[in-house]
């Protein structure tokens, strides 16, 4: 059995297990993978339908199981997470580990079937739920602007694929096709496993179960990107909505420097727009009062950064200019020592905080896994400490604006403060 990342620690009241199957992000598999994460939660052979599963979890002192599908760089995951209270925190000498693990694996490997395929009603209902989820993206305006920007910036590339799928692909799925797809994923998709809490004994149980199922042994890794930046004139897109506030999202491609030195790239992001003392926050919001939020977000797996801001429509040019002006400042090395030191301290705090979260340990293990690197938090912390101003300036110089997306708010006649 392959490596299971095991973190033995006494500081949590729960044990936590994460099992992640990975597929490359693609228009062919996005919909079925998303749908699968929903259908699998509807029932399993041994324990019954979802309300019986919920009842069982409640009896197990509020144990939690989540089945989700998320994007991760250019991959899409099918993730199963389990957490349950450790014996010593249970009343009356109760012990729930074996029952919790058994339920967990029933959901993963023994779904409720009808005539040897997924139940027709489950598939039909969850298809509708998935379509509704896709439509609901518009409800969170900030998120919507980010998704649109990414989709437009990476049109035709796997990173631009929307992980929930499309209504056309969803319509094509049948209970039989979904079940075949499920078996492919279960037995052939690369899988990453993490256990945080009691440690070895639990890892052995998990390993034995996975061996019984027969999961894939091979791994999948982030591919080396082409280092040639797609140099093009920044594209501009806008959509108009009846909103009182506009949402701006700007996508930037980072270059080879960032890829070779991911900690410098992370630090650049914190300094530029990733903290309340970042250049974007201090200038676009605090100094110029152009917005309520203006921040940047960096995806280390794809080497891309997005700046998001909520502004009044007529402040667009001013906000865009200032956002670019601040990037130029970093490129020119206009970084004060205090500013730089503070960005480092902020990033170090973020990294150290991972120690207090089982979910974040698992996320780190998965990320390092697909980068084919060891999970060594202390080493990452040392690497961050060693980053120099020059390295951050170099990252900034290699950063190019690629796409601007404006979700333009136009309310008839509304005056802005």
């Amino acid at each position: 059995m392959q490596n299971i990342f095991t973190k033995t620690t006494e500081i949590f009241k729960t044990d936590f297990v994460s099992i992640d199957f990975l597929l490359p992000l693609s228009t062919e598999t996005a919909a079925p993978l998303s749908l699968l994460s929903q259908v699998l939660g509807r029932g399993c052979e041994k324990y019954g339908e979802m309300e019986k599963i919920s009842a069982k979890l409640e009896r197990l002192y509020g144990a939690e199981i989540s089945i989700q599908s998320n994007r991760l760089g250019e991959f899409q995951t099918l993730s199963f997470d389990l957490s349950f209270l450790r014996d010593r925190f249970l009343p009356d000498g109760a012990s729930i580990c074996d029952e919790a693990v058994d339920l967990f694996f029933s959901l993963i490997a023994e779904p409720m079937l009808e005539k040897n395929v997924f139940r027709t009603d489950f598939v039909a209902q969850e298809k509708q739920n998935l379509l509704d989820k896709i439509s609901a993206v518009i409800n969170d305006k900030r998120r919507y602007a980010l998704l649109r920007c990414r989709e437009l910036m990476f049109k035709g590339e796997s990173y631009g694929v929307f992980e929930l799928g499309s209504s056309e692909k969803i319509a094509q799925i049948t209970p039989a096709s979904l079940y075949d797809f499920y078996k492919q994923v279960l037995h052939h998709a690369p899988v990453y496993v993490s256990v945080v809490g009691e440690g070895e004994a639990l890892s052995q149980k998990i390993s034995a179960k996975l061996q019984q199922i027969g999961v894939a042994e091979e791994r999948i890794y982030v591919k080396e990107q082409s280092e040639v930046l797609a140099k093009r004139q920044p594209q501009y897109f806008e959509d108009v909505f009846p909103l009182s506030q506009s949402k701006l999202c700007m996508g930037f491609r980072l270059g080879k420097t960032a890829r070779d030195n991911p900690q410098a790239a992370r630090l650049f992001n914190v300094l530029y727009g990733g903290s309340p003392t970042s250049k974007l926050f201090m200038n676009v919001r605090e100094r110029l009062s152009l917005c309520y939020y203006c921040s940047s977000m960096f995806d280390t797996l794809k080497n891309v950064m997005f700046v998001s801001s909520g502004i009044s429509a007529e402040k667009y040019e001013a906000a865009k200019s200032e956002i670019l002006y601040q990037l130029e400042d970093v490129r020119c090395g206009k970084i004060q020592k205090e500013e730089f030191d503070n960005a480092k301290i902020y990033l170090l705090d973020t990294l150290r905080s991972i120690k207090d979260s089982q979910a974040r340990w698992c996320a780190l293990a998965l990320q390092q896994g697909i980068l084919n690197k060891q999970v060594d938090l202390e080493q990452m912390i040392e690497e961050v400490k060693a980053v120099t101003v020059e390295q951050v300036v170099k990252v900034a110089k290699d950063t190019e604006l690629d796409t601007i997306y404006l979700m333009k708010g136009e309310m008839g006649g509304a005056a802005d403060a």
């Binding site: 620690t9 006494e10 500081i11 009241k13 729960t14 979802m50 309300e51 919920s54 009842a55 979890l57 409640e58 009896r59 197990l60 002192y61 509020g62 209270l85 010593r88 925190f89 009343p91 009603d121 209902q125 509708q128 739920n129 509704d132 439509s135 609901a136 993206v137 518009i138 409800n139 305006k141 909505f241 009846p242 909103l243 009182s244 506030q245 903290s275 309340p276 003392t277 919001r285 605090e286 009062s289 309520y292 939020y293 909520g310 502004i311 009044s312 205090e338 503070n342 301290i345 902020y346 170090l348 705090d349 150290r352 905080s353 120690k355 207090d356 979260s357 708010g409 802005d416 403060a417």
Partner: protein, 430 residues
């Protein structure tokens, strides 16, 4: 020598210290051995419901503009020598604040430099600095925040529900106010509010992490002066039993319609152990009747009437409380009628022992997990302090509550509580 008591809960292996500080500010410290993060939260019992006040020194009540508590929260990050974030930047602490209906809380969590960060927290919260200029600047920023919330269907739907449910109670006031109402705020007004509501007697400090109580108290002693011990009054408000509106519909940019169904709490006890018992009975009841293991949830989910976004919670403050059912549905009216039907059925047929026991197990688990994370612990202390209950009381109550207690609570909630249904849907195409 400080007045310190230690309170333990052997069962879950936790304890906390309560310091009755000479400044009149109660201080709670919850040790979390081995954890990397530590945090502190200081809060005051001042929120959007405090829309007027009078101290003994005043002739008459002062009316406050909507959104002033939230405005004050923003301004307390600015001091004479700079912005609080500039100082937190040197310790790496992640700091923030929030204003809700009946409280304003300031907090940080950090993996390093805890005592320096605590120093910053107390310094800024206890030393206000408002000028005409910095008040004007903030208006622009908060106006953008208000507009952001104006566009959020979930916030608007929820607010409409609360405004429908309450006729007079100030819980119906929008927390951030409006662009117009905040336009009237002045630095003098902010000082008046601060002096009345940010006195130590009205506040609580909570701390969690792997720390030294002595060092914590050293920092506190530096910043906590004497309390003014002034009496602050608010005008009494009569809230009738009935809702203002039983139905509200708004049109916004939203996909599937979203709904908020509110039930006004017919019982007016919100403090002390009696409230704690009520809260636990209510949580158990909601879990059993509307939770994911309930027959109602299954029926509504399977028929596509609701989806996984459906939730049911008991929202409450120091002098108000209501249930909220929220979710997405193409037929919210039908969801409401199913819920009403189920309430009647439960009143007739009751709840079985198994449902009760499993709900109790689940709530026990949640209470224990909540205390595994610094922010979770701090929030728990805030909630319990707001209701004058001990932080371990919920667990104690849970042990004592019986199935018949839960049924008695059902009779109160499912009897004739006032109800409001708020729906947000997209504009009908003409």
């Amino acid at each position: 020598m400080h007045d310190v008591s230690k309170i333990e809960n052997q069962k879950i292996g936790a304890c906390y210290y309560l310091v009755r500080h000479p400044s009149n500010l109660p201080i709670y410290y919850f040790p979390m051995p081995g954890k990397a993060k530590a945090g502190a939260m200081i809060f005051t019992k001042f929120g959007s419901v405090n829309c007027n006040f009078k101290t003994d020194a005043m002739d008459d009540y002062m009316e406050l503009p909507d959104g002033i508590a939230h405005f004050l929260e923003h301004k307390l990050f600015e001091g004479k020598d700079g912005n609080a974030f500039d100082f937190y930047a040197a310790t790496g602490a992640k700091a923030n604040a929030y204003t809700s209906n009946d409280r304003t809380a300031y907090y940080f969590t950090t993996t390093d430099g805890f005592y320096e960060s605590l120093d910053i927290l107390l310094r800024f919260v206890k030393h206000p600095y408002f000028t005409a200029e910095n008040v004007e600047k903030e208006k622009g920023i908060i106006a953008q925040e208000i507009k952001m919330y104006d566009d959020e269907p979930s916030w608007q739907g929820y607010l409409s529900m609360v405004q429908g449910l309450y006729q007079n109670h100030p819980v119906r006031i929008d927390i951030a106010g409006t662009v117009e109402s905040i336009g009237t705020i002045t630095d003098t007004m902010l000082y008046d509010c601060y002096n009345a509501f940010y006195d130590n007697q009205n506040m609580v400090l909570c701390i969690a992490g792997d720390l030294s109580l002595d060092k914590i108290l050293q920092v506190c002693d530096k910043h906590l002066g004497a309390s003014r011990c002034e009496k602050v009054q608010q005008k009494e408000v009569e809230e009738p039993k009935a809702a203002a509106k039983t139905e509200v519909v708004s049109e916004m940019v939203v996909a599937k319609p979203i709904f908020y169904l509110g039930l006004k709490d017919p019982d007016n006890c919100f403090l002390g152990e009696d409230f704690c018992k009520k809260e636990m009975e209510t949580e158990l009841l909601l879990n059993i009747v509307f939770g994911q293991s309930s027959p109602l949830y299954k029926e509504m989910y399977q028929s596509g009437l609701i989806n996984a976004e459906f939730s049911c919670d008991y929202e409450n403050g120091r002098n108000f409380g209501f249930l909220v059912f929220a979710g997405e549905s193409d037929d919210a009216a039908k969801v409401q009628s199913k819920i009403l039907q189920e309430m009647k059925r439960v009143l007739c047929e009751g709840i079985n022992e198994q449902q009760f026991l499993q709900a109790r197990n689940a709530l026990y688990g949640m209470a224990v997990r909540d205390m595994d994370d610094a922010y979770g612990v701090l929030s728990r202390f805030v909630n319990c302090s707001m209701h004058d209950i001990d932080v371990f009381s919920p667990l104690h109550e849970l042990e004592k509550i019986t199935l018949s207690d839960v049924m008695e609570r059902a009779k109160v909630w499912f009897g004739d509580a006032a109800m409001t249904l708020s729906v947000v849907r997209k504009k009908e195409e003409v």
